[in-house]
Structure formats: C-alpha cells, structure tokens
Symmetry: C2
Subunit: 149 residues, 2 copies
C-alpha cells in the first residue's frame, strides 16, 4: 500500500451475496466520513490506461470500485503535511472492497488493472466544478506506472 | 414502457466518452429530484433472475444502471392514486442511460436482462431500514415476467 497519507481513509465495506444477485454497500449518511452529498458519478478506465493527475481544492472523494480492478496512486505535496512527499498506492475491486476517502489537496491518479470493465463510483461532497481542481500531466509527478509493479 | 405512474420520474443522463474511459453522470444535488442523501448501495441481479416485490414506505429510490441491462416493473396500488393499478415497465442500461426515481408507496421488482453482470446503483434519500419496507412474494402481484415479452 506504500506510504500513509494524512487524512486518507480506507473503509472496508460489506458485500451481501444472494442466489439472485448481491448487494454491495457504498456509503451511508450515518458513517463517520460522511460530510455532505454533492454529486455521484461513475468513471471507467480502460486496461493499462491512466487518468492522472488531478488535485481537488475543495472536493472530498469517496470512491468505491464495484466492477473490475483499479489502482489508485495518491501523492501528498501539501505544505506542512506530516506525510509530505508520500505516495499511497491501493488497488480496489470487489476482492478488496473498500471505500477510499481522499481529502482535498491530494494529487490523485488511477489506472485500469483488469482487462474487462474497470468502474469507479465517486460520491463527492460537492458537485463537479472544474474551477476547484488542478491538473498536471502524467509525467509532471514522477511515478512508475508500469503494470509489472 | 407500459403505463405511467404518478410520481415516477425518468431522467436521461449524460455519458461522456473518452480515450481512457468514460464518465457517467448519476445524480447531482442541484437536480430537481434531489431530496436528501441517506445511503448509496449497489444491487446486482443475475440473468433472468427476479428480485420482487418490495414497497418502501418512506424511501425514495434513485436508480441508475451502469453495467448490463435491468428490467424494472413498478406497480401502483396506492389508494386514490390517479394511476392506481397501473404497471410501468422500463429497461435501463448504458444504451438507455436514465435515472429512475421511484417515490415511496410503489411496488418495485426487477429482472436481469443481460447474460453478464447486471448492476444498479440506488442513491436513496434515507438509510436502509427494513422496518420501512413491505415485501410480497413474486406471485402475489400478477405479472408475466417471461423474458420473451
């Protein structure tokens, strides 16, 4: 999982299997990480493709991966952070079914790991607003994305 | 689509395609059907399997289907409803990518249509509470679920 980053939380979630299909928890208002609801959207990422890097200035991400497998890489360059310059790596899937909560201020990238559909749901605390996010090109933060890692 | 049921809303949603993957809208706080956030969860249903019937007494369902295809059947037995005894049928998928908003008081059932994964996301306005839902066996509301329909 690499380093720890201050404020990033992973929360194991239940999958209840059944004869007709499953129920998979995502997020409940009563959970301690719930702040508010702004928008829910899906994002898919193709096998070995990478979406990186984005840093939200206000939005908190709450991400689950119900289909496929996605590798997330987080990078902390916050001034005065106790985890400054740390990278956190985590693969989410139904095999490792956890919610990843990313506070504002953390650089985030992700990569499709399975050859089928790789799908994430983000339940964000504010609606999408391009003005509150910064972007960098994939090579502007040094990280080895090669799949053999 | 069968009949109309008072209070049921379908909202077409955007899918933004990209070279690395897609972004698929689900629900924004600023949309008119947004009431509150209680819980988000996934439910899958196997091919030709049926999950029916359930009626919520308080919860409003906001359902999207990001993977596969699911047939929803809604039945209105509300006293004094102008759509009493109506059935509404709708198939949701990425081909017909809409949000289905079901108010409290409507019987709901659904069936897996594709042979792969059929997955729905429900963004409910209250957290799950078994006390606020009624259940009936599949044969307790007369409906022909045969796939040839």
């Amino acid at each position: 999982m690499g380093d720890v980053i201050e404020g990033v939380v992973t929360t194991p979630l239940d999958i209840i299997t059944g004869d007709d299909g499953d129920v998979m928890h995502a997020f409940k208002k009563i959970e301690p990480d719930y702040k508010s609801f702004g928008e829910a959207y899906f994002s898919s990422v193709k096998y070995d493709h990478i979406k990186a890097w984005k840093k939200h200035l206000i939005m908190t991400l709450n991400i689950v991966v119900p289909v496929g497998e996605i590798k997330f890489v987080l990078f902390d360059d916050r001034k005065n952070s106790i985890s400054k310059n740390n990278f956190l790596e985590i693969n989410l899937s139904t095999e490792n079914y956890q919610r990843l909560t990313v506070p504002a201020g953390i650089w985030t990238g992700f990569q499709g790991v399975s050859k089928g559909l790789n799908l994430l749901l983000n339940i964000a605390d504010i609606p999408h607003d391009p003005e509150e996010a910064d972007n960098l090109g994939i090579n502007e933060i040094q990280y080895d994305w090669s799949m053999s890692k």
